[in-house]
Amino acid sequence: MITVQHWLVLSGMVFTLGLCGVMMRRNVILVMMSVEIMLNAANLALVAFNKHLAPVAGTVPPDGQVLVFFTIAVAAAEVAVALVIAMLLFRRLDTVNVDDVANLRW
C-alpha cells in the first residue's frame, strides 16, 4: 500500500539530493540545475498532498495541481533570467566557478 508518507519521503530524498548538489558542486550551472531538482521535488510533494486530501466521492479539487502549474511557470522564468546572469558572469570573469565570485566578503 503506497501511503502519502512514501510520496513525501521520496520527495524529501530528492530534495536532499538537490541540496547536496547546491552545496557541493562548484559549477554555477550545475548549482542552478540542483535548484531545479529541489523545485521539482516540491512539486511532487504538492501533487501528492492534493491526492491525499481528496474526498471519497465526487470530483477532486485540483488546487495542488494548480499550484504546481504556477510553480513550473515561475521556475521557467527564473531559470531564464538566472542563466543569463550566469552567462554575463562568464563573460566578465571567464569562469563558472562559484568560489571565484566571493566579492561580497567582509
Partner: protein, 163 residues
C-alpha cells in the same frame, strides 16, 4: 500494479538525480536530469495529475533543460576543467540530518491515500475550471511575470555594441 510502477519510477527518479549531481561532464548531468524529469512525469500520472505530467515533460524537460544545454555549450568547458562532486562530510551530515528531520515530521500524517473512483481528475478541463475561476488573479500575475522575465533576459543579454 500501481505499487510496482511507483517503486520503479521512484527508484529511477532517485537514481537519475543522483547521477545528475555526481556526473563530471555537465552535458551528462543535463541528460540525466531530463531522464529524471521523465520519471517524475510518470509519478505524476500515477497521482492522477495528467495535465501536470504533460506540462512537466513539455516545459521542464523540453524547454528548461534545453536552455541549460545551450548555456552549457556556450560556456564550453574543456575536459580538464570538469570537476565532479567533491564530498564534504560536513555538508553530507547536514543534508542527512535535514532528511531525517523531514521524515520524522511527516511520520504521523493520517490515513492512507484514498482510492478514488476512476473519474478523470487532473484533466485540463477540470484544471481550467479552477484556474480561471479561483486562481485567475495569480494567473494574470504569472503572465506578467513571464513578460518581465523575457524582457529582462533580452536586456541583460545584449552586448554593448548592439544598441
Amino acid at each position: 500494479m500501481e505499487a510496482l510502477v511507483f517503486w520503479i519510477a521512484a527508484a529511477a527518479m532517485v537514481a537519475f538525480t543522483l547521477l545528475t549531481i555526481a556526473a563530471r561532464n555537465p552535458v551528462y548531468s543535463a541528460c540525466f536530469m531530463i531522464l529524471s524529469f521523465a520519471a517524475t512525469a510518470a509519478l505524476f500520472v500515477l497521482l492522477d495529475a495528467y495535465l501536470i505530467a504533460a506540462v512537466e515533460v513539455l516545459v521542464y524537460a523540453g524547454a528548461i533543460m534545453v536552455l541549460f544545454l545551450f548555456v552549457i555549450m556556450l560556456v564550453n568547458l574543456r575536459e580538464s576543467e570538469h570537476e565532479g562532486l567533491r564530498l564534504n562530510p560536513l555538508m553530507v551530515l547536514a543534508a542527512g540530518t535535514f532528511l531525517a528531520l523531514m521524515s520524522r515530521a511527516v511520520k504521523d500524517l493520517g490515513p492512507a491515500v484514498q482510492e478514488t473512483p476512476n473519474t478523470l481528475v487532473g484533466t485540463p478541463g477540470l484544471l481550467a475550471d479552477t484556474l480561471f475561476s479561483r486562481y485567475v488573479v495569480p494567473f494574470e500575475a504569472v503572465s506578467g511575470l513571464l513578460l518581465a522575465a523575457i524582457l529582462g533576459t533580452v536586456v541583460l543579454a545584449r552586448r554593448k555594441e548592439d544598441a
